[in-house]
Amino acid sequence: MKFDTPAGPNPIDKGRVIGIAHDRIDGPAKVTGTAAYAYERHDAAPNAAYGWIVGSAIAKGRIAAMDLTAAEASPGVLGIVTHANAGKLSKGNMNTAHLLGGPQIEHYEQALALVVADTFENARAAAALVRIDYAPEDGKFDLAAERLNGVIPPQGFGGPADTKAGDFDGAFAKAAVKVEQTYTTPDQSHAMMEPHASIAAWNGDKLTLWTSNQMIAWSVGDMAKTLGIPKENIRFVSPYIGGGFGSKLFLRADALLAALGARQVGRPVKVAIARPQIPNNTTHRPATIQRIRIGADKDGVIDAIAHEVWSGDLPGGGAETAAQQTRLLYRGENRMTAHRLVTLNLPEGNAMRAPGEAVGLLALEVAMDELAEACGVDPVELRIRNDVQFDPEAGPQRPFSSRKLVECLRAGADRFGWQRRNPKPGQVRDGRWLVGMGMASAFRNNLTEKSGARIGVDGSGKVIVETDMTDIGTGSYTIIAQTAAEMLGVDLDQVTVRLGDSRFPVSAGSGGQWGANSSTAGVYAAAMALRAKLAEKAGYAAEQAQFEDGLVRMGNQSQTLASLAGAQGLWAEDSMEYGDLDKKYAQATFGAHFCEVGVDMDTAEVRVRRMGGAFASGRILNPKSARSQVIGAMTMGVGAALMEALDVDTRFGFFVNHDMAEYQVPVHADIPHQDVLFVDELDDKSSPMKAKGVGELGICGAGAAVANAIYNATGIRLRDYPLTIDKLLKAQAA
């Protein structure tokens, strides 16, 4: 099906299963440990050997010599894969650096060898005996030092590098109130709980990979390209994924090296990237330097706004598009955004949850707080005054498909008790705690991607859905089952969902918060095709047939799905693709975050005391899992505000704190109860589901709300994330 005109009434509107809070259908498997993740497929590959990755100890240079003698002689070793024996390898379209390095080395911890042995212990011990002599070269590792060497980056998901409208410089010069500040955000790590892991098995020239991957079709394609074999010869299986957040969008070293290892030793090989290797071997969210200038009248109405962003990546990499939201969030006739990319020889930068907006809003929404104070306008009211119902770069001819920012701001403020906030910083005390409230707008683009599925009814009337869509914790299993149940008029427990297998139709996959809306729209398309087949078999006109209670009805006639499907079952396959509604209409998701912090008056320890928000993301398919997505993302925003940073060793070019002890993420004790309100919205220009993404919206702005609450509590304005105790104490002393 093609979605190129706004959706009218359709079977999803019934809301019998869709839009109702359901427990996850994969829940019982997950809570009992019976859901098998990639490394755990003893059933599929009972005789798998174990691979251990040897990573580069330098950031840039060459392998001068590699001595495998001791490793090869170590007990249980079956083989060692290196560039010298791996055969000719290409690089995947989505990879910036080669997944197997050598002789050239592109970054620290780049995989240089895979040691394969009969046991995990033997592989790990032998890997320590691989001796590599390096010929290091100088590299560039310091974003701030390289800033002036930035170039215009290639265009990615974030649109063009630069945009402008009106005359920013002229309008800013004349503005009554000005904010001009620079903000910095550090490199961050996804730190998903399940390490990258794969088991590979060859059968002749056919490769099967049990793996943990968000985007099956992308990664099959990149495996085929890297190995130089047809993608028809490759099968990926990824039904359970222990977290992604962008880290598993692409083919990674575990997958490629498992395939190479299995080919070399002639039996299945399993490889997990060891936790301390992950931050330097794989991808991370790149650090940014962001300069924001806002010019407004004395009432805070914006006339000029500019957002410039610098970030770094390896040669051939991309930019962190942190100015994206500034193109669409607030009014202002005179505006510009710009991204500049510098070459750094750090590990590969790439997408992490809400690439662009997650860090862009850490800057923009603090700048808005600064503007509110400069104008003496309440921060919520300031944002309401600057609301705009069309793309402010394109003008009124490109309206938003649906934009409920103001509703979110008002509803969120009410629920949180925002009116109790004292606008003057440093006034509220609770014992030894300085208490403050902060808020921020939430904004994330809504992307739609082509997505396919097949759906069938068997002879017992049960429904089966198959698609290569993935569930990375997002709740895909359940919302896909809900969609199928709604469309075919059966109960949720009558639906079986099979995901994450490249033998199934290609889906949108999980990324960019497009997964839920796009993949269910694909199931909608396949279900419409199946409804037509069922109606035809029943002899009913497809438009008049009603699907309910396991029956196809027309007038007072009815037949059961089971009888129509027959013993053979009845299947249909289709995909949903999109026309230009996202060009005609700006499509985005909105919200408002509110946060109350306490800051210890002596130690500057920050505690989040309360947190809540209101969000508009179109139809909420499963309020239970959608709420979990939002609170999880809010928590990641707290991490970004208070603790998360990969610390760069600018001498040797690597991230020093490369494990879960030293890369700090929020734990139970850091997070209070979180309140989430979904504002009613149906977006008929997004898809027939009238839904939009929600998985990334929650991180967008959450950290800025924390930062603004710290300012309100203490009067200390920090612009260099994360806002750690050392920085607060230094500012307090100054």
Partner: protein
């Protein structure tokens, strides 16, 4: 190879293990009990939490040979999809997970935390060491060794409170 006898989920098992084998790998790779997860293999994340001799431990931080003759309970020993343990059921009802990878460790920890509170074992946030009682802050403190990057924290606390009979709802 070293012989090791364990009682895992009530079943006696006899293993011949490389002495370097962690308890975690003995469970996952030798007994094929893959419900216990390897998140970091360094005692940093809590995904590998199991209950040994009635106390929760990080099974990645201990060698299997150190537990010869001991009783081990893993997530598989608490309940099955058809017969969920009350804590497992509460995690489903309160959506106390997302990707599910930290979940077995969270649940093993949660079951133990309630036992620890009952037994009067104090924590860093216990105000009165003579009267250890359930509170959300006690649970948050005690569960902080189990990282959930999906951050179902708020829901996990609701699930544990529910099982403890302290539900607000």
């Amino acid at each position: 190879m070293t012989p090791v006898e364990l009682t895992v989920n009530g079943r006696e098992v006899h293993l011949q293990l490389d002495p370097r084998t962690s308890l975690l790998d003995a469970l996952r790779e030798h007994l094929k009990l893959t419900g216990t997860k390897k998140g970091c293999d360094h005692g940093q994340c809590g995904a590998c939490t199991v209950i040994v001799e009635g106390r929760r431990i990080n099974s990645c931080l201990t060698l299997a040979v150190m537990h010869d003759g001991e009783q081990v309970t893993t997530i598989e020993g608490l309940g099955t999809p058809e017969a969920l343990h009350p804590m497992q059921k509460a995690f489903v009802v309160h959506d106390g997970y997302q990707c599910g990878y930290c979940t077995p460790g969270q649940i093993c920890s949660a079951v133990s935390v309630l036992e620890e509170i009952k037994a009067g074992v104090p924590s860093h946030v216990t105000e009165n060491l003579d009267r250890v009682a359930f509170s959300e802050d006690e649970v948050r403190e005690r569960m902080s060794g189990n990282i959930c990057r999906c951050a179902a924290y708020s829901n996990i606390i609701a699930a544990i409170s529910d099982v403890a009979g302290e539900s607000k709802a």
